[in-house]
């Protein structure tokens, strides 16, 4: 009964999002997994959309649908956009991958951009950011700053993007303290402030004095602030919620990419590709380092500079959790191996959900 009701709610929500008559050269449409007000993932994508509007003015019209569930509902939402005259559709969550591909087959003239996925087609490009670069840096900071030597990681779903983030964090931490411990809690949701807060409390109660998250709300950082431990902002700068607790935040800045791709469609130069940019290109930005001693800030900035110089955090020696070698000394993991990562590095105190 409940799921039927939810379905009805979703269906109504979809029909409620109306469309406006078209006058612009291009209509760019965005599908978000969370509400635009989550102050995390979807919020940042919407900031990118607003940047597009500002940059192109009347030439480009934008539209968005928020809180679209991953799965069959997403297909309807995407198809609706395609029928409504959207020339370029950004689907901004991993779970929209198959729906995007499916709808793209039906609408060969519409261009699709799917975030964080790995399936492309002639009219489907993928784009992603190297969040793991930022996670390596915060791992280093965590190991420097932790007194208990234990960090807590609030994770959403066991998909490669999240797993590689955990691994990068751990590699960063191990580069400072080889015995560093990491506790992982999977909350199986992208957005539920209450659950995220509960998970943060559980981790702190079990000895973690650094909290980091791959979920979208500010709740964990707020708990860190209350309990007097520290943490990192996710997706946007969350310093307002945790003045004393936030060391830095990994900010997703989608604006440059969105503007670039919209421009390419307007110029007729759009091609399908798999974009994957990070700190060097300004798609991943570290928020100002706060509440940290100078030497740690310097270390973080040095790592940032190293990454800008072309260094990849997933450079060997890397040992998997089961003891086998993932990359030999000095060997850099291939992009595909990072984008499809389904194993933990050695030292993580958790079993990866399969």
């Amino acid at each position: 009964m409940k799921s039927i009701l939810r379905g009805a709610v979703a269906a109504l929500a979809l029909t409620a999002a109306g469309s406006v008559a078209q006058a612009a050269d291009l209509k760019a449409c965005f599908v978000y997994v969370g509400p635009v007000g989550d102050f995390g993932w979807s919020y940042q994508h919407d900031q990118g959309r607003l940047a597009v509007e500002e940059h192109f003015g009347d030439r480009v019209e934008t539209a968005y649908l928020e809180s679209v569930p991953e799965g069959p509902d997403a297909e309807r939402a995407i198809e609706r956009f395609a029928r409504d005259g959207c020339g370029l559709i950004f689907t901004t969550s991993f779970g929209y991958m198959n729906p995007t591909i499916k709808v793209a087959k039906k609408f060969p003239d519409v261009k699709f951009e799917h975030a964080t996925g790995y399936k492309t087609a002639d009219n489907v490009a993928t784009y992603n950011s190297k969040f793991h670069e930022g996670r390596y840096i915060i791992g280093q900071i965590a190991a420097k700053q932790s007194k208990t030597g234990v960090a807590g990681y609030i994770a959403s779903f066991p998909i490669p993007e999240v797993v590689s983030g955990i691994n990068a964090f751990m590699l960063g931490a191990q580069s400072i303290n080889p015995d560093f411990k990491l506790k992982v809690v999977w909350v199986n949701t992208w957005f539920d402030p209450g659950k995220e807060a509960d998970a943060a409390k559980a981790l702190i109660d079990q000895g973690a004095d650094i909290i980091t998250q791959h979920t979208d709300s500010t709740a964990p950082l707020q708990v860190a602030q209350e309990r007097g431990v520290h943490g990192f902002g996710q997706a946007s700068d969350m310093i307002n919620f945790a003045k004393d607790a936030q060391y830095t935040a990994i900010i997703d800045d989608w604006a440059p990419y969105y503007i670039e791709r919209v421009q390419e469609v307007l110029d007729g130069k759009w091609h399908s590709h798999s974009a994957w940019d990070g700190i060097s290109e300004g798609h991943v930005v570290m928020a100002p380092y706060t509440n940290l001693p100078d030497d740690v800030v310097e270390m973080a900035k040095a790592t940032e500079a190293k990454i800008k110089g072309g260094w990849e955090p997933f450079t060997g020696p890397i040992t998997k959790q089961d003891g086998t070698e993932a990359a030999a000394d000095g060997v850099r993991l291939e992009d595909g191996a990072i984008l499809g990562m389904n194993w933990y590095v050695k030292g993580i105190d958790d079993k990866l959900p399969q």
Binding site: P35, G37, P193, G194, L203, T218, F241
Partner: protein
């Protein structure tokens, strides 16, 4: 350690408890209001906004209660006066609440909130273990327990409660006896709205003091399920809410301990537990029927 777990469980269970007790009264009067989620989220946003503007948590709580009541008054007008379909109206109320709250709350995204202070009850709060868990909570936790006691007393020990249950069980007879079915139901609906608003305020002022869209994340629906789970008995709602909160929190602890149980299974545990208890309770059909309001969800039009 145990103490810490218990504290987390209390905060996780309190919003469910408050919202469910309110809905219990509504359903006891024979009205099914599926709009709990919508009223809760409105309580959350209005409570946050007012607390943020005035700097007073108490004013925020009061405003949240009023917001919940306003939503439920709209619902009451629709289903009791205009006699619209209760299920559809309740769903509409949820959708309205989610949308409207997003609009009202736009200005408050990314604004840090205000946390309700904890009330330390003198002497009692000094007792080791018992003190921190039971006597150092924010006011709303105490309110939630007082609420359960008061509702239970009202329903089963007072004349007003008897009338309320009569209206819920057989509105035709209650009407024939001279009670105003619509008025009783309207009052009950308003009470349910007030509780949902209060539960929302707990979310945005105590649980996670911030405003983000959709922050109740389905807790209104859980509260609805808890009412059935409790077979419409107030004290069982406490058991249900705390069981749900406890299982949720313990799954996180189990994971942090590295017990190696699949997290997807752990995440589904609270729901599995709910289903298991529902099956157990409904096994005794006779007892279930005794407590189920016989006129639940049925419209009533006074014949004069």
């Amino acid at each position: 350690m145990f103490e810490a777990v218990l504290l987390t469980v209390i905060t996780a269970a309190t919003p469910l408890l408050i919202a469910a007790v309110g809905e219990l009264v509504v359903e006891r009067s024979g009205v099914l209001n599926l709009g709990v989620e919508g009223m809760m989220i409105m309580g959350a946003v209005v409570g946050f906004a007012v607390a943020n503007q005035t700097g007073s948590g108490s004013l925020g709580v009061v405003a949240a209660i009023v917001a919940g009541m306003a939503m439920s008054a709209l619902f009451g007008f629709l289903v009791l006066i205009l006699v619209t379909n209760q299920v559809a109206s309740g769903l509409a109320l949820t959708i309205l609440g989610l949308g409207l709250s997003g609009m009202i709350g736009e200005a408050f995204i990314g604004v840090p909130g205000l946390r309700l202070p904890e009330l330390y009850i003198p002497v009692l709060s000094e007792i080791p273990f018992v003190g921190p868990v039971f006597f150092q909570q924010d006011a709303l936790v105490y309110v939630s327990f007082l609420l359960v006691g008061a509702v239970s007393y009202m329903l089963f020990k007072t004349r007003a409660g008897l009338i309320l249950r009569a209206v819920g069980d057989n509105h035709v007879s209650a009407h024939a006896l001279g009670y105003s079915v619509v008025r009783v139901r309207f009052m009950a609906t308003l009470f349910g709205g007030a509780c949902a608003g209060l539960a929302g305020a707990y979310m945005s002022l105590a649980y996670t003091p911030q405003w983000v869209e959709n922050m109740t994340a389905g807790r209104g629906w859980i509260a609805l399920a808890l009412v059935v789970f409790a077979s419409w008995l107030p004290f069982r709602v406490v058991a249900g809410a705390y069981l749900f909160g406890a299982v949720t929190v313990l799954t996180f602890h189990a994971q942090a301990q590295g017990l190696g149980i699949p997290s997807q299974f752990l995440s589904s545990l609270p729901y599995l537990a709910t289903i298991a208890v529902l099956v157990l309770i409904s096994a005794n059909r006779r007892l279930t029927l005794v407590n189920t309001p016989a006129c639940l969800g049925k419209p009533f039009v006074p014949d004069r």
